[in-house]
């Protein structure tokens, strides 16, 4: 009953987002982040081959990550060693499809 009266008094029907930091979210599987300086062309090819969802591909001098396809399975982190880690970021909602495509320059093999 208290929550009902409190809601009536404040006239608030929803809470702010996020109402507070949620420590549970820290353990969620998330898409990868890459260290461009540790990426090589050969590693980029292996990462693309390891991604079962087809969310990673090499495009010339870049590695392309499609966040719309990534399921956060973590296989790239296993393959990539120090060059890849879970990003910890899962708030990916956007109005722009293009912003879900991330181009990562492959730094180690670049002139």
């Amino acid at each position: 009953m208290i929550w009902f009266l409190r809601g009536l008094r404040r006239g608030v029907v929803t809470t702010r987002y996020p109402a507070h930091a949620d420590p549970w979210a820290e353990a969620l599987p998330t898409p990868p982040s890459f260290d461009p300086q540790k990426l090589t062309f050969e590693l980029a090819e292996r990462l693309a081959a390891a991604c079962p969802a087809g969310a990673l591909r090499r495009d010339g001098p870049d590695l392309v990550l499609d966040l719309a396809g990534c399921t956060g399975c973590g296989r790239c982190c296993e393959v990539g060693g120090e060059a890849v880690a879970a990003s910890g970021s899962f708030e990916l909602a956007t109005h722009d499809r293009g912003s879900l495509l991330k181009r990562i320059p492959i730094g180690a093999d670049r002139d």
Partner: protein
């Protein structure tokens, strides 16, 4: 593994099926096709629960039509339709079929047939639907309220009472069995886990057991304990979700909120124990990728289950809830047998089958699994089975988690065929995998429990039920469209 394989001719298949269908101890489990030397090979699987073994009949069939298995075994009708859609072979006698996986516009393409098309296409006949007199068809779906899967329901009614109901699942078809062809079993596991996301651990377990059987690999005991802990956690959160949905469909918002709080606790427990709220990535070929976090199990499991039991007990004392569940959506024992349903739907209808006990495999062969059974066959009986199973799953987890480790055995053999099973929250899940000499999947068959149980949904929903009972019955069945349509 207790699976007997028997090769029969096309003409013998009829006699074998007739004998098995007349045997009350034999339960129809699956029917599917495969290629063999340019022909289609039909495999029919029966569960002989009292003998603790499965029987697999194999019969090569011709394009002219295979013996109509559903004549003797009505439960096989769905698989007969599927066999036509995948391979273009149909039962003899020009019996009408329904579209189950592939949409009607895809006719004449058969995705699992080599080449994809048949030169001489068998005539497709669909079961006619005639709605006459005062009755009319009320179309519902495939887009439904947020969070519910795509499913078309054709409700035939005169206004309130449900006279008939038919379902289209194919909006959710993803061609997973087709997608698995040519992949390595390791790669295939990624898709298998996503066949029915709410049964990721148990579907993966059945698939891995099939691949391990094909390779002749024994899984370390500690890894089987890990798999069981994940599968039991999966059962608890699924049943919690079903109870929350029952509250939603009976209009009990506070009960729904309480069940959903308990559900969220269960999902957080999964995350803390295995690193994934829906238990993806736990089961791998040869064992288990990660061990459960013991501290998470001991600190979070009892509280989550207590909260869930408290919510369920309050609901079962609430007349406005119980009144909606009693005598609603009845699946009687005879129908449950006839349609070969599995899991809580069967157990609530006096059919006490559970492959953890009837076809025991590690680690369940080292313990006693209690199988709760209801007799009424209605929604209330199914909810009571959910509650009893939550309690039993908690007991099993606390018994097994201390021996659970992340261990992986190396798969020795490369080619061969194997059959695996596991008890998912919805019931018996089966998998068959054939691997070629190059170590790639030749044929993978996945039969989640939803394939069996949706068959009984229309029976449960029609007659003596009104429109507003249908969502309640659907919640109590707690099947997935993804598992059926895969």
């Amino acid at each position: 593994m207790s699976v007997a394989v028997r090769r029969v001719s096309e003409s013998e298949l009829n006699q074998e099926i007739a004998a098995l269908a007349a045997n009350p101890a034999a339960r129809f489990a699956d029917l599917f096709g495969a290629h063999e030397q340019g022909r289609v090979l039909v495999r029919v699987i029966y569960a002989l629960d009292q003998e603790h073994r499965y029987l697999m009949l194999e019969a090569p069939v011709t394009d002219q039509g295979h013996p109509a298995i559903s004549d003797a075994e009505p439960a096989a009708y769905v698989e007969e339709c599927e066999l036509f859609e995948q391979f273009g072979v149909r039962p003899s006698g020009n019996r009408p079929l329904n579209r189950v996986l592939m949409p009607p516009q895809s006719e004449n393409t058969f995705p699992l047939l080599d080449g994809g098309r048949r030169a001489a296409v068998p005539r497709e006949l669909r079961a006619p639907l005639h709605v006459r007199g005062e009755a009319f068809e009320f179309p519902f779906g495939p887009v439904r309220v947020a969070g519910w899967e795509s499913l078309y329901m054709g409700l035939v009614t005169t206004g309130e009472e449900v006279l008939d109901l038919y379902l289209f699942h194919w909006h959710k078809h993803r061609g997973i069995e087709r997608r698995l062809r040519g992949l390595t079993p390791e790669r295939g596991l990624f898709f298998v886990e996503r066949t029915e996301g709410l049964s990721a651990a148990s579907t993966a377990w059945a698939y891995c057991r099939a691949v391990e059987a094909a390779a002749g690999t024994d899984v370390p005991a500690s890894a089987t304990a890990t798999r069981a802990v994940a599968a039991e956690l999966e059962r608890i959160y699924n049943h919690a979700q079903a109870i929350a949905l029952l509250c939603q469909t009976t209009g009990l918002s506070v009960g729904q909120a309480q069940a959903e709080i308990a559900l969220e606790r269960c999902l957080r427990l999964n995350l803390a124990a295995f690193g994934h709220r829906y238990l993806f990535g736990v089961v791998c070929l040869g064992g288990a990728r990660r061990a459960p976090d013991s501290a998470a199990i001991t600190s979070l499991l009892p509280a989550a289950v207590t909260e869930l039991e408290r919510a369920a007990a309050a609901l079962l004392r609430t007349n406005s809830h119980v009144d909606r569940l009693e005598t609603c959506g009845i699946v009687d024992e005879r129908t449950a047998h006839r349609l070969a349903v599995v899991g809580p739907v069967a157990r609530a209808s006096s059919v006490p089958i559970d492959c953890r006990r009837d076809h025991p495999f590690a680690p369940y062969d080292r313990t006693v699994v209690s199988v709760p059974v209801g007799t009424a066959g209605d929604v209330l009986a199914r909810m009571e089975v959910f509650v009893a199973e939550i309690r039993e799953s908690k007991r099993l987890i606390l018994e097994l988690f201390t021996e659970a480790e992340a261990e992986v055995a190396t798969l020795t053999g490369r080619d061969g065929a194997g059959f695996g099973w596991a008890e998912s929250p919805r019931g018996e899940t089966l998998a068959f995998v054939a691997v070629d000499a190059e170590g790639r999947i030749e044929r993978a068959r996945l039969r989640p429990a939803s394939v069996r149980n949706w068959r009984a949904f229309d029976d449960a929903a029609r007659a003596r039920n009104v429109f507003t009972d249908v969502p309640i019955i659907e919640a109590s069945f707690w099947q997935t469209v993804a598992g059926f349509a895969r």
